[in-house]
Amino acid sequence: MANVLEIAGRETLSQLDYIGSLNIQLWATLRGMRAALPLVGNRHRWRAAVHQMLEIGVDALPMVALMAMCSGFILAMQGASELRRFGALHFVIDLVAVGFTRELGPLLTAIAVSGRSGSAFAAEIGTMTVTEEISALKVMAFEPVEFVLAPKYLAALVAVPCLSIVGAFFGILAGGLFMFFSTHLDLLLYFRYVLTSIELRDVVAAMIKSLAFATIIAHVGCLEGLRVRGGPDAVGRSTTSAVVRSTFLVIVADAIFTTIFYFVGKT
């Protein structure tokens, strides 16, 4: 019995330790972020941030677009098969439009980015830790948080919301194609319906979510990398753990935000 309590206690402490480290890292990075900003900051950090933006955002575009289109078709078809029975096929438009703007656009993007870039952050920083590059940065009078983390976080904050918008657009486009082929609804007309069903509030909520997801993915990836101790096998484990933890936390955060927006939206 005591053993069970001991294990539970140790697990709780280690989880709290993790959340605490994540918070400390977040604030340290926010403080170091100024250096990564254009004009006011250090141009080397800004260049690194732009490079990261291309890697996180532009390189992921085809994948996110394809994922969103497939999900768009799935959502439209699943919705249509039920809604058709009530003769309410046109509600598919609202389903796809609202579903992608509020929910699937940011979420699908976050999952894709956590798989692509979260793991890359963990692997890159983990390798730097193992090969003493992080120590080298410190003794060369650089701040690893400012040098490595800040450009990555800034890049994620810019790239993830942009990708979410692209993801939502392609999801909605897939819905339009489905409507065109099943009911010969004109695409332009479809987009006009879409615009009437989306409110500005939905878009703002989606952007807030995207920023939160970007924060989670960037910081979990970087923290996993910095916590690597040992050799190359530890880097592999940290990469896996970065994807698993960030995907999990993204979904938890999504649930929390959706609940908040649900209650805020009612009043």
Partner: protein
């Protein structure tokens, strides 16, 4: 006055005492070799001197500033006068050799790019890598990486050069070349060098002063001749390469005997 002085340094890892009340003075313009077997605490001492870890108690002052209590800004200032070449070289893999050497020059000085190019070329020429600036670290051999790390450590013309196991894992010829390089640097630039190694031969070639570390405390400090004349049994053991725990030959022989018999007994 000594340029680095370590006073009553105590370091513990998870309750295990790694360094126990260590005192060490490193004189300006000399090559001090830190000699010791695996697990003697020499890497720990090095990380302490570089300010990468906090001691449990004691103080370390570099050029008169106590780095265990000084501010981050002071620590950064001191770090600019210390050049470090890590055991694993710790070159930044994403940068070419030139960029590795130029990094601190570009970020910590206001020198013109043409001047920086010239300095980088000079530093690479000093270590015999003048034509290799465009290569990336992964395209270099082990010895070249170590020399490149020395070039990077020299970039800001440091007063103190710290080398962690410069000859580990290198063939005798390359190791001898590195020893020559260290002596050359001392003679031409009056640099203070702290070299951590476990190679007796190279230690006696380059050292002005040798500090022998055993089990977290200093066994002997002195010039080459003083160390050679030292009668401490541990020092003698290290110098004469006597195994600490001579293998129990009878036990090994008996084990082999049993193994051979069991193999023969098989049909």
């Amino acid at each position: 006055m000594s340029i680095i002085s370590v006073r009553d340094l105590v370091v513990e890892y998870g309750g295990r005492r790694v360094l126990d009340g260590l005192n060490l003075d490193i004189e300006a313009g000399e090559i001090t070799v830190l000699l010791g077997g695996s697990g003697s605490g020499k890497s720990t001492l090095l990380r302490q001197i570089l300010g990468l870890e906090q001691p449990k108690s004691g103080s370390i002052s570099i050029k008169g500033t106590d780095i265990t209590t000084c501010s981050q800004a002071d620590l950064k200032t001191i770090r600019r006068s210390v050049g470090v070449a890590f055991q694993s070289a710790a070159l930044f893999n994403s940068l070419s050799l030139e960029d590795n050497v130029a990094l601190t020059l570009r970020e910590h000085t206001a020198l013109a790019p043409s001047v920086i190019d010239l300095i980088v070329w000079l530093k690479l020429a000093v270590v015999g890598l003048a034509g290799f600036g465009k290569l990336h670290p992964q395209e270099l051999s082990g010895g070249m990486k170590k020399r490149a790390a020395v070039a990077r450590a020299l970039a800001l013309d440091p007063e103190i050069l710290v080398l962690d196991e410069p000859s580990a894992g290198l063939d005798p010829i390359v190791a001898a070349e590195l020893d020559e390089l260290i002596v050359f640097l001392k003679e031409t630039f009056q640099i203070t060098a702290l070299v951590v190694t476990h190679e007796m031969h190279s230690a006696f070639r380059i050292a002005d002063r040798i500090a022998m570390l055993f089990d977290g405390s200093l066994l002997a400090v002195g010039t080459k001749d003083e160390i050679r004349a030292n009668q401490n049994p541990r020092v003698r053991q290290f110098l004469n390469r006597v195994p600490a725990n001579p293998m129990h030959r009878p036990a090994v022989a008996a084990y082999l005997e049993r193994y051979v018999q069991s193999q023969e007994a098989k049909p």
